[in-house]
Symmetry: C2
Subunit: 243 residues, 2 copies
DNA sequence: CGTTTGGCTTGATATATGTCAAAATAGACT
DNA sequence: AGTCTATTTTGACATATATCAAGCCAAACG
């Protein structure tokens, strides 16, 4: 079965090997023995494929598994009683998604693919079992959850104390940094999300986001062509955030 | 040594027993055996006392322990490079504080007591050990971390999509609910924090917070006397948030 | 008991961002 | 290629919140 035969709607299962995965150091601790690695692979040997717009899960879905993003990207968003919505994150390869659901066994937010994407399913009950036997895996899981808390606090700082252009600059710098982690260019960004989504994430209206992009371009900070953004001056963008 | 002899500056140690603690069901899973309970008590038998303004920890401090608040309350805040600050939470009895530090082994934010407060220290390495042996404790820890993530996402929704008065109403309702959990009145609130802190938490200036309080009072929603707030109409306050 | 101090309230005004509307552009589909 | 649709940009204007400034109040203190 060739990769491009997979229909995302079927959530096709595919065997994968963590030991060969080039994202290994993002998902797993570094010091696993061969035997431990085999046990982990047994846990997460199922891969699922999605296309843009597909839901990985919806608010209210019963929680069973975390997901490690193997390729592509997702956005997560929370919905209010009255339909108000807030994009809470844009997640890319190597990141773990679904941590919010552990608290109640029900997904609190929803996750939507922003492009062709693949995830490894990590049944959480098995993950807990395994992490009881493998201390470094246990600690790694704790770090991942803690990192999510730190990330969220950073966004609270952004939403609570920064103005529109500072928020957008921080957003671009964050994308740049995460691009770099994956060995991609820190200055050539291909945005996977709309201005509306960026606005929701940054607590701004889409028009404000668009104007900020235009203004950055006028100032020679970036070059914008729709969703292709080139950062001309990383230092000046950083200045903008820290002032 | 009597309780009121304790000097907060000394962070005096006191033996405490979880099994007698009336906050037990907030900190611990319900189904611990007597033997397991004894082991947990061994983990967390140290209590520390603080007075208003004392730091529980500062950003940059090496991470060693989580803390369970036994009495009183703390605020946590993150600081930016340029001195910008954001209050990220107001924590009260029964809540666990310090989860953000697990990710890097260094505290990312700082925690300050808002009144006379006591905490139980939970050395994290020991907590991890213990939770390897006691699956329900392990799962409980995961739930606590996940709950923090959900809480943070709720604040992101508030900061990103609500207007000033909606934010304040949500804040008051949250306090009311947590008061109720502790068997206290859901309508008689004694605020432990200043308008400045509320403003920082809600992403507003203190004047805006003050005006919103005044306006709520004019509308007959609440009765404000400095930091003593009486909620007159919970339903109308809820309406405000969900519209 | 009067003074000091920090926190809170209130008013007048400024400004960043939202709102509404229209045009431009880019992608998707025949 | 050409039409259709969704997304993005841009402009004019409205408004929520910030800013600046003054006065008020209550707890703390000499």
């Amino acid at each position: 079965m060739a990769l491009n035969d997979i229909n995302a709607q079927e959530h096709a299962h595919l065997r994968v090997a963590c030991s060969n995965c080039n994202l290994r150091e993002l998902c797993l601790p570094v010091d696993l023995s061969t035997e431990e690695m085999l046990r982990v692979e047994e846990l997460s040997h199922h891969k699922h494929c999605y296309t843009a717009g597909d839901y990985l899960y919806r608010a209210g879905d019963r929680f069973k598994s975390l997901y490690a993003i193997r390729s592509g990207s997702f956005k997560t968003r929370v919905l209010n009683a009255d339909g108000r919505e807030q994009v809470t994150g844009f997640l890319m390869a190597g990141e773990i998604i679904g941590l919010d659901a552990i608290s109640t066994d029900v997904h609190q937010c929803e996750a939507v693919a922003m492009e062709e994407s693949e995830v490894c399913e990590l049944p959480f009950a098995r993950l807990e079992e395994l992490s009881r036997d493998i201390p470094s895996l246990q600690h790694h899981l704790h770090k991942i959850m803690s990192r999510e808390i730190v990330r969220d606090q950073g966004i609270m700082l952004l939403l609570g104390s920064m103005r529109a252009e500072e928020r957008l600059a921080a957003f671009l710098l964050n994308l740049s940094q995460r691009n770099a982690i994956h060995g991609m260019s820190p200055t050539q960004l291909r945005l996977r999300m709309s201005r509306l989504d960026i606005g929701s994430y940054l607590g701004l209206k889409l028009e404000t986001v668009s104007r900020a992009f235009s203004h950055f371009q006028e100032e020679g900070l970036i070059q914008v062509k729709a969703r292709a953004v080139e950062i001309i001056s990383l230092p000046r963008l950083r200045e903008l955030v820290n002032k």
